[in-house]
Symmetry: C2
Subunit: 351 residues, 2 copies
């Protein structure tokens, strides 16, 4: 096809009113519960609606009421094949369910991470009478002042830390890093290295340092890697070949670590790949714990021990807060949990 029939001239509210023998207003009252309607009248209206297969025109409703009963989910992405963000699918799923539960539809849109593009999307949303925007921020820098200027409520998802004036939420990355690193240490490995972004202010980096310090072991080595599978693979090759160089903030390095905290599942999958290629065994030669709890950690080989981000809870909270009458500009931090699998040296894993 494209299939499609000349459309049997859709019934309007007026048709319903006539058939039920009432005024237009009463139809509205009945359907929206905006005013009391006699039981008998309501019954006739409902029958007419049924008979005509009447569905209120949402465009008219939006025009009149200024609300399209729709939320937008905006996914800025730095790489070209958008929706590349691994969290996208998981968030989309729950956000849609949560929005629908509250009578809203969800409108999903990708964009480049460029501030002017993000702003342009916000403007488009406003023009479409959209009621609020959920932004999957990740590491995208957001120009909150400009976005606020559009006049749409919005909230940032997947954000690491509080920023003045922006509503946001995210997993407690630091605590997760502590949990993962500590677990590795409890296995008895003498030290734990870190693979992740080269950013000394990053909470996972900080958590790793803290856990090492708390255990009284030297932290290291630090191996810089992009948050991608190729980035992880490159880092893995450097480690396997004992070329891991000391990155910023590293305390020592240059020899292959016995255990590794990798800052994301994507990166860890790349590291695993590199290790396979070089014959480095996990966990026998190097143990690994990673971060995110995404599905790619589950079926990796060996299964990745990983700190799970509570995406569902975060998504539901995001919708609730976005729709709340009394809006806050807080940053909500969610706890996660460590999922144990084989890669850290634990005996078995469920899948």
């Amino acid at each position: 096809m494209t299939n499609g029939t000349p459309a049997p001239r859709k019934a309007t509210r007026r048709d319903v009113a006539r058939l039920a023998g009432v005024s237009d207003a009463v139809v509205s009252y009945t359907l929206n519960g905006t005013a009391p309607v006699a039981a008998a009248t309501a019954e006739r209206v409902r029958a007419a609606v049924e008979q005509l297969g009447y569905r209120p025109n949402q465009a008219a409703r939006a025009l009149r009421s200024g609300s399209a009963d729709t939320l937008a989910f905006l996914v800025p992405s730095s790489s070209d094949p958008v929706f590349t963000n691994p969290f996208f699918g998981e968030y989309a799923s729950t956000l849609e369910a949560a929005a629908r539960d509250r009578g809203y539809a969800l409108y999903t849109t990708a964009t480049s991470f460029r501030p002017d593009e993000v702003l342009a999307r916000f403007r488009e949303f406003a023009a479409r009478q959209i009621d609020g925007v959920l932004v999957l921020a990740g590491d995208t820098p957001l120009d909150s002042a400009a976005l606020d200027g559009v006049g749409l409520p919005w909230i940032a998802l997947n954000v690491a830390s509080r920023e003045r004036g922006v509503a946001s939420l995210g997993t407690d990355l630091r605590a997760g890093a502590v949990a993962a690193t500590t677990h590795l240490l409890e296995h008895g490995y003498a030290s734990v290295g870190f693979v992740g972004q080269d950013d000394p202010t990053e909470p996972r980096y900080i958590g790793w340092l803290q856990a090492c310090a708390a255990a009284g072991v030297p932290a290291g080595p630090f191996v810089a890697a992009e948050v991608t599978r190729p980035g992880g693979r490159a880092a893995g090759h450097r480690i396997a070949d004992d070329r891991a160089r000391v990155g910023s903030g590293a305390h020592h390095g240059g020899h292959r670590p016995r255990a590794l905290f990798v800052a994301s599942d994507r990166t860890a999958v790349g590291v695993l790949r590199a290790f396979h290629e070089r014959g480095v065994r996990v966990p026998q030669d190097v143990a690994i714990a990673s971060f995110d709890g995404s599905s790619e950690a589950e079926y990796a080989w060996p299964g990745l021990t990983t700190f799970r981000q509570p995406v569902d809870e975060m998504a539901r909270s995001a919708v609730t807060r976005l729709l709340a009458a009394d809006r806050d500009h807080a940053h909500e931090l969610f706890p996660g949990e460590l999922v144990l699998r084989r890669s850290c040296g634990c005996p078995d894993d469920t899948v």
Copy 2:
């Protein structure tokens, strides 16, 4: 937050008209090119638009014109965590770009696979003045008559075969199965087994049989598996333990095959997992080729040789056909290509 300012009272077309010193109509003419406008006038209008930051109200436009300039992407999913369809992300990405290129927004929605739910979504789309629907069908049965009744153009994505009266497209699964199986045979393996759904009419199953027949080798064994990672894992365990039973249409079985054509990457990832658990080496003990060309095949270990579905091309074609003035009810078949990696026994792979 939720952030949001009291909204600086949005400018309407009337404000623009007044500021530019023209009538409402001229603003429309200028912006939409619906009628000739003097260059000087147009300039004044544009300046006013700029100055006021005017954005046409899309709800009003939709009400008046009957079109929201929006396409819907509907993803029926059988499992509860919706958006579980592995193609979802890839399609969403390209569909959105293609729609945007043509001035349409894309509205993404998940639903259960239940026919009445799908129908309900179509009705909702119609009420929202949506212009057309892209349905990611997969193996979802669609009640095309009922959907046509809604009066919305629609097209089914990811469909295996032509069905009367429905516009659809999909990869040539049979040809892909032939290519994958044949490649395995060319490696010199004496026979090639099949892991996939237990459905003798399935094109990949048929293609597998055909390729074996063409090479003059017995086809088998056939191992039934759900199109999921756990399904693949279970099948993999049966194979590794030499418990692979003869499924319907199988020609022989009961001993571990030397090579395997697996009908999807998801399934293959599960098989790989099972083989790792049992110490079956790929490709030394069993070679594997799979189907889809998704990103999970790329970083699996070993990298999966897989038949890539041309998702991008299909998505672009879907949008084009959906928007075409002269709608067809054809089924468009796309060729794919075999991506060689290590799992089939090829020497190396790029990643």
